[in-house]
Symmetry: C2
Subunit: 361 residues, 2 copies
Amino acid sequence: MGDSKQDDLRFIRPEIRRMTGYTPGEQPAGGPVVKLNTNENPYPPSPRVLEAIAAAAADDVRLYPNPVAEPLCARAAEVYGVGRDQVLAGNGSDEILMMIVRACIGAGERVAYAEPTYSLYDTLVAIGGGEVATVPYPQSFELPVEPLLGLRGKVTIVCNPNAPSGTVTPLEVIEGMAPQVEGMLVVDEAYADFAAASAIQLIERHANVVVVRSFSKSFSLAGLRIGLLFGQPAVVSELLKVKDSYNLSRISIAAGTAALGDLDWMRANVAKVAATRARMTEALTVLGYSVLPSATNFVLARRPGTNQRPVFEALRARQILVRYFDVPELRDALRITVGTDDEIDALLAALRDLTDEARGR
Amino acid sequence: MGDSKQDDLRFIRPEIRRMTGYTPGEQPAGGPVVKLNTNENPYPPSPRVLEAIAAAAADDVRLYPNPVAEPLCARAAEVYGVGRDQVLAGNGSDEILMMIVRACIGAGERVAYAEPTYSLYDTLVAIGGGEVATVPYPQSFELPVEPLLGLRGKVTIVCNPNAPSGTVTPLEVIEGMAPQVEGMLVVDEAYADFAAASAIQLIERHANVVVVRSFSKSFSLAGLRIGLLFGQPAVVSELLKVKDSYNLSRISIAAGTAALGDLDWMRANVAKVAATRARMTEALTVLGYSVLPSATNFVLARRPGTNQRPVFEALRARQILVRYFDVPELRDALRITVGTDDEIDALLAALRDLTDEARGR
């Protein structure tokens, strides 16, 4: 064996050695923190979900789970009005996105999207040995359709609503793109329950469209790692080949199935979030932020031209976590999760203090 | 869009289209079945594990889990006597094996192992676009070290104890291989708690050795998807780059941590399995099977030259599931999980009946 560090890692692909891993938002270990940084739902999941988890804490955890998360997918097919063979479940929608890259992207093949968007896409493409091809969103965050199509991605991703902007691309725009994209069109609907429309029905008319959903936001289940994909049966069947053999635990299957059995609970939480979001958007605007209309459980608050790192850090010193992205196009912005009313009051009070301090009062 | 089926899947990599997915062992939906087909532990996990799951059924499932399964890895470092930075956790050891392929194997690069072994390796290498290079095990299942080294894999896997044979490669043989393999040496120790030795300590002396563990067998937690990898910090750090962002749920982290807090429970189950295994091996031998010495929770029972499919099917008709592999080198064998004493009595009774029937009594 060689003795240099480099040689010790000779078996790791050079692309991986060069990569920096994905940095998830901070998950503080404990203490009193107002956590508005990773778009978790401030309200708990349905009591039926917690009952299902407790009931699954039984001796049969010794047995493997159903390899295709059968009860969850069957329930999802009913709820979303698609065939059972048009659904698959993932260990979070992150795993589903990875499965798409694995199944579609060979060395050097292109994944196209408009930026800024969910930064995990970059990491997944790098892991898959593909090539990232992006076009910038304009300030309005209207999807730059023609430039995006011009990238001719083998996979094109539209995060809709988009993170971190919170903005929506109308369904007819997405449908118009479907026959024009070079390869697969992925609609990442992690936040769609907070918006008015979903692309799920498009899969019937467009064989190259898949829609990805998450239980982490609207269903308050980030801790359990549950995602769904909808697509035509032939596509689902190819994607199933590249998933981990038993990708969802028995508990996550039970919890996801129970969550889909209590949509009213989820919708009530979504309504509460929307009400708080409206109030918070107005207050942030009064404080001098420009806030894009959000169809998600977060807002992007911007002070054009003013780096928000000091604000991010001052909030952090007061135990209020928001998300700051250290990239040129987002340095003048904070992405703030819609918390409970009390949490948002604490945030707004802190921001008012900071503004007063900045004015030297 | 084209209208041919082939064209509809133009965005799926041709290698994936050609692939057949991994077929996990059957997971029957219900009914009275003696399930000896997927090497689950017949005994439940520690009550502390079930308490930990029930306690985790709380409102904070709305929050993301710790992205590196911190409590679990910290506990594992203590239990296995390694540094915290020498451990990572996976969504089952299957995910860890996929991470190894992702991090190490570029298009056409070789993964080497002796066959027959865990059939998922073939699938993972195919997904990763690598090349499978194998040498046959002899009938004795002694590891063919020189031929295996001769394959010059960028990754070499030794499943130890091996599945489906149940046999062990001595630790000194593994250690002898470490400086000679071309790239990474993966010791897949899914069944190691049933055996006498572990390669974990080798990671201190050999930068290219990683050891993979599963909670599915000895810890009775197949339903929760928990695996661990041990390796040098630089290797762990590269592998972490390619894992899913939050790969273990809050519940699996809590359950795995609790399981490592009650090793006595696991060891007592392992001892019960070993006792039943000895009795079952003897009885199968009396019935005319040749049974390799097993250091796992299953046995490979062989009738040289006689296809065991009819026996597999006859057992299945009696609601007894064992594993039959339809590949040339294993058609005269059944892989039988060590169940409870009652389950094994039922199996043996059924086999005796079948033998009597075959003799026309």
